[in-house]
Symmetry: D2
Subunit: 333 residues, 4 copies
């Protein structure tokens, strides 16, 4: 019973059906009928005109966006625990041609206007020091916390004031939306977000993520960068069809709600062990090595996350007996 | 009726079935059971130990290989019509950090030991000029010609003598094998190929290509580069399963034979119009603008390829009535 | 007696004197009094407001300019014999993050509006092919030919029409000005040049070149790129002082005239052997290997330039007896 | 009276004389007689075979070395206050093609085997996290502290054990040698240093630094990288001559001793105000804003270094009356 990552979950049946339905002759690359529907479908969803480009990974989405938002000689402010810093193998520097990640601190992988402003103020305005050009935040964060729309807006206002482009890594944005009930519009462009990596694979997709550009004038450049980075698939229709299936009937939201609910079930089993509030589909539990071993011996699979801490991630399809057994096992520790 | 690219063809049903069959919980990235079988499966196929990494595009396969084979300050010899030069948006320079493509001439996008040697000899051995470090050939070429195993071996011998790593872009290697009857081993590593971009998507795949490393010591570096370039999919099992399905029962070869046969059907319809011999699944026909228009008015779709020339590409699934109608239409021009 | 390169010549005594005179305490980097005078001095010289940044090599000047004028995913049109293509070790790709040099043909390393337009027209306007963003010309060319101001203006007009930024490699611009009598303004910004690498080292300088930006808004970015590339010297005053010395009393023009006159002396000795008209300070002579050997046995030093051809370059200080002896020796071949 | 940087000092007269003496015709680039003497001269100095390449800045020396020691996808461990992190505008990422600086903490900008080991141990050994490939230390540090040879050797041993190449930024190595009395050999290659940026400009040079390669097999690659980065000056003899002048009669050591002595004079004037021990030619003093103002009103020029702290740097030529007046003024605060 795998609780170590939402990447381990299968694709939702409707996603698979959409791929099968797309299995016919059509134009190559992104000229097909599914790909051509993306801009419209996501513009409707976000209540504004956007450009929507499929890619196959969150790393690609993040790095393509950042490369367009930050020059090679610029800096990208982000949390020291951000995925782009910790888990993308230097991808932002690769795609941007050397841009520097300028690291911020703060609990739960959240940044605040104060930490951003302080970092900016600590940089001399000369050619010797890298000047920040962008700010990237992750929502939900790498520790399962959620920025409310007002928090994003406060960061967006500061970013605007400081001349920083605001990027959101939304690998688990669906979970944040499910938690807060905010509209996608309020959580993103109305709050000042310029570009969003909108995650679907962790949320029931197969291998399609979506890069959403609120600054639509960036789309042509990013389309070139996507091709140049080998991310323009020759049969893009199978990606576009997945995304459309996820939007259909708000499957993305339904899946996120299910994953979040599963996380709450576990959270309630051991409220005193939580290292962070559970606001999305990740739990960080204070658990000794012995206790972790006991859980594993019962067939549960998860990551250790530093000494005395484990991480559990729930997925769209993890309800029912397995979940209840894990909750009981945690409660019984 | 689309004859403009084998990218327009659907995926083979067995490929789809394999994806569906892989739709269950497993480890993320490339730790799953399908991905772990690739090295063995391709080692069997190539009769030697190889490392096999899935990627989603030929551009990614080519550029990851070249980045490992050529330093940022080196040069990659290739034909001026090579896909890496003409159709990858500068990807080789991006992935390698600035390596230079040094262009060779020659009919049908083929390079020869003579053109390679002449290019090398024309470069001063000093720090002012970019020194070649790799040679990349495409088999079948961008004009549908095929290198025989002996031709590759001659290039491999020269490459070895000149200190050049040999890369093969095998987007349509299956078609070349179907034509020549050579073994994959003879066509590649026995001929001196260090790394092969083995194409499956044009040949009935959905979105999985395979980078084959005969110099297995490169695999760890390339695995890092793959992640850094955003090409390590979080649910890699859906790619690996496709590749295994293509190997199963030599589906890759069967599909290529079908596409080649379709091309021969068309070639026989207008032997005098052929700009090049038809050795794989591409045809370049001397056809006036009026004639091209006539074919299009009958519902056939293809690319213009310079003045008075069109390109037709046949796919694994293009037999039967449509093909016969096109053959007849060409014959009737 | 060295005629193989104007780089072999010594620095002019006035340049040395200026360095000695600058040898006192001052602010570091480019904050000193000499560096701060450059913008004004060059603005006067070019009859318009420019930004002038010292660098130590023509390669740095060219590549910094091109990196600002062309995105990493763009193309730079230039002649196939251009210094940036042939003799800068891939520097343009390094500085720009992978921009592609798109090569033009034409006698004497000159490009024309026709060759530029044809190259642009041959590129599909899609994401698969690298789109040109800049045009770089060398004046005087690598074969000692000179673009007249009207020729530059014709290229500038085309560049503007095609959305290309125009860069001039002026390693020997002084010689071109000496030959044509054109004003620097007419030869550069009035003709549409956006950035100029203005050469001084080949013309009597010690180690200071100057990057002139007519699009002054590029200066801040390029100042950052200069630092990042390790080209912001900590004691820049010794570079700035050299440049000011070269401007003082138009020493740059006087030196170029002397070098050109020396070239004419040699050209007149063997008019029938000239592979190109002698319009600056380089001569390309049709000379057999035996004849070249004879000249060398008399103590003259020069480069072979392909079979049956040699290159002679004259410098600011090469008048008098040595020159006359070489002229006589050539005439006597 | 400038005490804000040793970059503000003039060049030593013997350096200027050497430049003047080199002002004659010779071969271009680094083929001249002075440049060709560098390997030998520095091999003698370091008591082992080295390759010695001139460059014009410490940033260039550092970044060229690091680009050869660390792959684009690797990490470079260094102190968070290191010059390469703080004052080189992202140069290491630019030259290396995206390598990541992994930052260490510790007083006085010093790293220890413990901090290095802890940083390495905190990195998962997988493709998602950047793996360290090099360690860079600065001696004397950015806070004027000195690593003893034994400390470097301890770091070198750890680096070797962990597979890290050890680089030393020796912008002020001369001062460290003057302080410790260690031999250059003990302080560098015998302690495991692979490449050294040996600074001369801060120590009485004009614009020549030297990159010393103890791993001599790196020299050819770095020579290419130097050219490609625009750092191969066409008249390199003026750089080589400076370096030879600095070596002659150990002028480099004499100058460093003078600068260190001046720093000691100041240190003795206010021992209780020192933020760090004074081990080279930099002083960091706890001084209020009012006190700083008073010093400035007396004509002394220096940097503020955070609230309540100033930085003073002494140079090779700062003895005598000015120095005594500053010492007295500090003592009188």
């Amino acid at each position: 019973m795998r609780f170590f990552s939402d990447n381990a979950a299968p694709a939702h049946p409707k996603v698979l059906e959409a791929i099968v339905a797309a299995n016919r002759i059509d134009t190559a690359y992104d000229g097909d009928e599914w790909s051509r529907r993306l801009d419209g479908a996501f513009s409707d969803l976000f209540e504004t005109e956007v450009r929507a480009l499929w890619v196959t990974t969150g790393t690609a989405a993040n790095c393509l966006a950042l490369a367009a938002l930050c020059p090679p000689y610029g800096g990208i402010l982000c949390h020291k625990d951000a995925h782009i810093e910790v888990d993308e193998a230097g991808g932002p520097a690769f795609f941007s041609g050397g841009a520097k990640l300028i690291l911020l601190d703060g609990p739960g992988a959240k940044v605040t206007p104060e930490t951003v402003a302080a970092a900016c103020d600590g940089i001399r305005k000369d050619v010797h020091q890298v000047q920040p050009a962008a700010l990237s935040i992750t929502n939900a964060t790498e520790y399962g916390l959620v920025y409310r729309a007002a928090e994003v807006a406060a960061l967006g206002a500061l970013a605007n004031e400081r001349g920083l482009a605001l990027h959101m890594d939304g690998a688990r944005l669906a979970n944040a939306i499910a938690t807060t009930g905010a509209s996608l519009a309020d959580m993103t462009w109305r709050a000042g977000v310029a570009a969003l990596s909108f995650g679907f694979v962790k949320n029931g997709g197969l291998n399609a993520e979506c890069l959403i550009l609120f600054r639509t004038e960036l789309a042509d450049e990013i389309a070139v960068r996507r091709k140049r980075a080998g991310h323009l698939l020759s049969k893009g229709r199978y990606l576009a069809a997945q995304l459309l299936a996820m939007l259909d009937g708000d499957l993305w939201l339904e899946n996120a709600r299910a994953a979040n609910a599963a996380a709450q079930t576990l959270a309630k089993a051991a409220p005193k062990r939580l290292a962070y509030p559970v606001e999305a589909n990740e739990l960080f539990l204070n658990v000794s090595a012995d206790e972790a071993e006991r859980l594993r011996s019962l067939g549960f699979d998860f990551y250790d996350w530093g000494p005395g801490e484990i991480r559990l991630v729930t997925s769209w399809n993890q309800q029912g007996e397995d979940l209840d057994r894990l909750a009981a096992a945690i409660a019984a520790l």
